[in-house]
Amino acid sequence: MNWWKRRSEQLDDEMRKHIEFETQQNIEAGMPPHEAHYAALRKFGNLSSVKEESREVWGWIWMERLWQDVRYAVRGLLKSPGFTSVALLSLLMGIGVTTALFSVVYGVLIAPYPYAKPDEIWALGVLGPKDRPPGWHSYSRREFFEIQKLPAFADAMATSFEPVLLTGGTNPQSFYGILLTGNAFHFIGVPALLGRTIQPFDIKGDGEPAPVVVLTYRFWQQNFNGDPGAIGKTLVLNDVRHTIIGVMPPRFGWYTNDSFWLPMRMNLTDETPTNVIVRLRPGVSKEAAEQQLQNLNVRFAAEKPRNFPKDGFRTQLMNYMDITVASGEMASSLHLLSLAVGFLLLISCVNVANLQLARTTTRRREIAVRLSIGAGRARLVRQLLTESVLLSLFGGALGIAFALGVTRVIAMLIPADYIPNEARITMNGYVLLFSFAVSVLTGILFGLTPAIRCSRPDLVDALKDGGRGTGASVKGQAIRTWLVIAEVALSVMLLAGAVLAIRGFSHLLNVNPGFQPEKTLMVDIPLNPKRYPTIEQRNRFDRELLENIANLPGVRSAAIGNGGLPFGGARSSYSIEGQPEAPDKRIVTSLISNDYLRTLGIPLKRGRQMTLQEVTTGDHLAIINETAAKLWPAGEDPIGRRIKIDALTDLGSPQILIPAGSSAEVTVVGIAADTRNQGLRDVTLPGAYVPYTLVAPPNRRLAIRTVADPLKILNAVRERVHEMDKDLPLGRPVTLQEILGFETVEPRFNMALFSCFAGLGLALAAAGIYSVISYDVTQRAHEIGVRFALGAKRRDVLVLVLRMVVKVSALGLIVGLCLSVVLERVVRFQVFAATSFDAISAIGIIGVLFLISVMAAVLPAVKAGRVDPVIALRHEA
C-alpha cells in the first residue's frame, strides 16, 4: 500500500504542476490569472478521471476500488444502525434456525443410519384386504431359508431377539440379546470397531451357533471401560460361556445400542418369529420381487393359515427407511416443524428484502447526485453490491454461529426414544449453504433492484423528487406494504401452530389417565425361560413374589400386570357369546393379579373383583373396562356373560406358556372404569383383565404402591427377589409418574420449538411493520406537517399512523388465519393430538398480533407526533 500511496502522490503532484505550467504560459500569453487557471483546467480535462485511468494502468485499481467500496459500505452501514441491526438479526434467524432444524431433519429422517445403502433395504409386508399400511410380516427360520433362495433377492437376513441373563458378575443383569443370521453384518455393511463381526461360519451346518458375542460400544464401555483386551474374554450368557469376538462402533445400534449381538440358532422347527429384510438383485423390479414373494407367501399361508389374514392378502415390499424413520410421531412433527422454519426463512428473507428496498429508495437522490457528477453506472451498482454482500456475509457468519448453537439445543431437546439409535444430529453443511445462499441472494437481489432502477439516466426526476418519495418510490412503498402483509400472514400461521401445540400440550396434562400414578413403582422381573420352563413354576414364583413384596413395610399393595401396565397390552381378536364373530375387532388383554385395580387406583364400576383364590387357581374370569362393556347391546348386562379371547390360547412365542388344555373363554365378573390403555393421546380401546395364571410370558411386570417415595422401597424389593433367586435380575425401575412424563415428552418438544419459532416469526414481523410504518412516517413528514399547520391535533396524527398499522396487520391476520385453517384441514395435524383450530385459538392469535403490531407502531407514531410543521414545510421549499 505504501508504494501505491507514494506513486499516487507523485502523480497528483505531477498533474498539479502541469496545470501550473499551463497557467503560467496562459498568463504569459496575456490572460488574467484567474481565467488562465480555468483555461488550464479546461485544457487538462477531467482531473479525477485521468487520475483513475492512470492508476488503472498500474493494475491495482480493483483492489483499491474494493477497499474503497468496503470502507464506504461499512461507513454506510454504521451510519444507519437500526437498518443494519434489524437486517443482521433477520439474516441470523433465517439462516440459524432453518439450518438447525433441517440439520435435525437430515440427521433423524434423511440419513439416520450408518448402514451401507440403507435406502435399498426392503422389509416384507403382508397386506390384508382392509389393512393399510401393510404390516411387517415375520417369518419362521425355515421360511427365511426359502425367502433367501428366491431369485429376486440378492441377499436376505433375519433378526430376532430373546431375553438373555448375564451372570458371573456381581449382579445378574437381564438384556435383550439380538440374534442375527450369519450374513447379517455383511448385509448391513458396517465393520467392527475392534475384532470381527459375526460371520456365516459362526453358525454351523446343523444350525448350531458358536458361543460368540459381538458387543455394542456402550456395553463395552460400561462393562470393560473401553479396554481393547475385552476381545477374547468371555461372558456367561444364559449359563453358557460366550467368547467376545468384536465390538461395534458407537454409531451402530441394530435393534439395540446397549446390549450385544449373537449368532442365531438356525433350527428349522423353531417357530419364533424373525424380522426378515432383503436387498433386491440388480435389475429386478420391486413388482417382480413382490410377485415371487407373494407366490411363496401363498404357500406359507396354506401351511399355516393362522399367520396370514383370513380373507386374502397381497405382498408388498416396504422400504426400510420409510417404515423405520419416515413414519411415526417424530417424523410428522419434524415435517411440520420444517414447514414452520420454512416460513421463518421466508419471513426473514422478506424482512431483509423490505429493509433493502426501503434503504435504497431513500438513497435515490444520493445515487442520482453521484451519477450526475460522473460516476459510472456499473461502478455505482458494484458499490451497492459490495454493501449488500458485506451485510449478507456478516449476517451469514452470525447465522452460522447461531445455527451451531440452535442445532445443539434442539439435539438436546429432542426425545431420544423417538429417533433411531444411530441418528446423529450435527450441523449440516448443505443445509447451511442453502439457507445462507437464499438469505444472501435475497439481500443482494433486493439491494440491487432499486439501484439498477434508480441508475437509469432519468436523473432529473430523481433529483427533483428529492428526499420526498413520489412516483416510483410510492410504488416501492406499495410493494413493501404487501411484503409486510405477507410477513404478518406467515407469522400468524406460525402463531397458529404454536397455539395448537400449547393447547395440545396443556390438554394432555389435564387428561385423566384413569389410574392414580402417584407413589407407584413399576419394575420388570424377567424369568429365564430355561430355569422356569413350566407354567406351574412361573406361577408359583409369582405368587410367592407378590406375598413377599406386599408384606414389605411401606408397601400398600403390590400387583402383577403383565401387558398393558400402564399402556399397551396384547391386542387380541375375540368373540362374544351370542354375537356374530367380528374378525377385525380387537380387545386389549392384561394379565393381572387380584390386587391390580386397587394398586393402580382404578375404580370398579359394577360387579366384583377377582379373589386371590380364583387368581391362584387360574379360573377363567375377566374384568372388562367400560368401553368393552359397550360391546354388549344396550340393556344387556355383560356380567356373567362369556367372551372368547383368542390371545389366551393363541400364543406368538414358544416361551409363553399356558396351562394344559386351557380354554380361551372367560366369564365377565366385573366392570372397571376406563383407563387410557393406549397412552394419553389415544382413545381408550375395549380392555379385559384376566388372571395372570392363565398365560405366563417370561417377563413379569410389577406395580407396587407405597406409603412414601416409591423409589425408596427399591432396595428392599431387590433383596427379596435376590432371596428367592440370586441369579434373577431386576429390570429398570420406573414410577408411573415418570411414565406419564414420557407421554408428554414429544408434545413438549413440539410446543417448545413451535413457540420459539412463532416468537421469532413475530419478532421479525414486528421489525417489518416497524420499518414500513416508520419509513412511511418519514416520507409523509411533509403531509403530516401540513396537517398540523391546518390545525390537526396530535391525536389525529396518531390515529393516522395507527390506521396504517391496523391496515397492514389486519390484512396479514386475515390472510394468515385463512391459510392456517386451510393448512390444518389439508395437512392432518396428528401432532396436535386432540386439539383443533377454534375460537379460543383465534382470539389468542388476534390478541398477540394486535399487541405486537401496536408495540411496533409506538415509535413511528411518537415520531409522527413530533413532526414540526415549520421544518416539514420549509423542507418542501
Binding site: 503532484d13 504542476k17 505550467f21 499551463e22 480535462g45 492508476r55 488503472e56 493494475g59
Partner: protein, 119 residues
C-alpha cells in the same frame, strides 16, 4: 481489465499518442507539460480530449518499460518529473516507424495510378 472496453477509434488514438510521446522523447528528456505542448503543436486531435489523457499513456509506457521517469528541473527552475526514452523504447519507436513507413508505402503503391497497359 482496463482498456478492453474502449472503442477501436480510441485505441487507434492511443497508439498514435504512444508513438507521439516516444517521438517527442527522442529529442531528449521532457516533463509532462512539455510533452503535451510538443504533441499539441504537431497533432491537433490526439490531445483533443485534454492534456490529461497524456498521463494514462505515460503510465502505460512506464509499465511497458519503454520510458523511464526521474526528477529534474524545468526551464522555469521548478522541480518536475522528467521522462526519457529507454533502449527498449527507442527500438520500439524505430520498429513502429518503419512498420508505418512500409505500410504507408504499400498504401501509396496501391492508391497510385496504374501505368497504362501496353506502353
Amino acid at each position: 481489465m482496463t482498456t478492453s472496453d474502449q472503442s477501436p477509434q480510441l485505441e487507434l488514438l492511443q497508439g498514435t499518442l504512444d508513438l507521439l510521446i516516444l517521438q517527442t522523447l527522442l529529442r531528449g528528456p521532457a516533463h509532462g507539460h512539455a510533452i503535451a505542448k510538443s504533441i499539441e503543436s504537431r497533432s491537433e486531435e490526439v490531445l483533443q480530449v485534454g492534456h490529461g489523457s497524456l498521463y494514462p499513456a505515460l503510465q502505460r509506457l512506464l509499465k511497458q518499460r519503454l520510458i523511464m521517469a526521474g526528477d529534474g528541473v524545468s526551464e522555469n527552475n521548478r522541480k518536475a518529473r522528467f521522462y526519457r526514452l529507454t533502449a527498449a523504447g527507442r527500438k520500439k519507436l524505430f520498429a513502429e516507424t518503419s512498420k508505418w513507413q512500409r505500410f504507408s508505402e504499400a498504401i501509396a503503391r496501391v492508391l497510385s495510378p496504374l501505368p497504362e497497359h501496353g506502353k
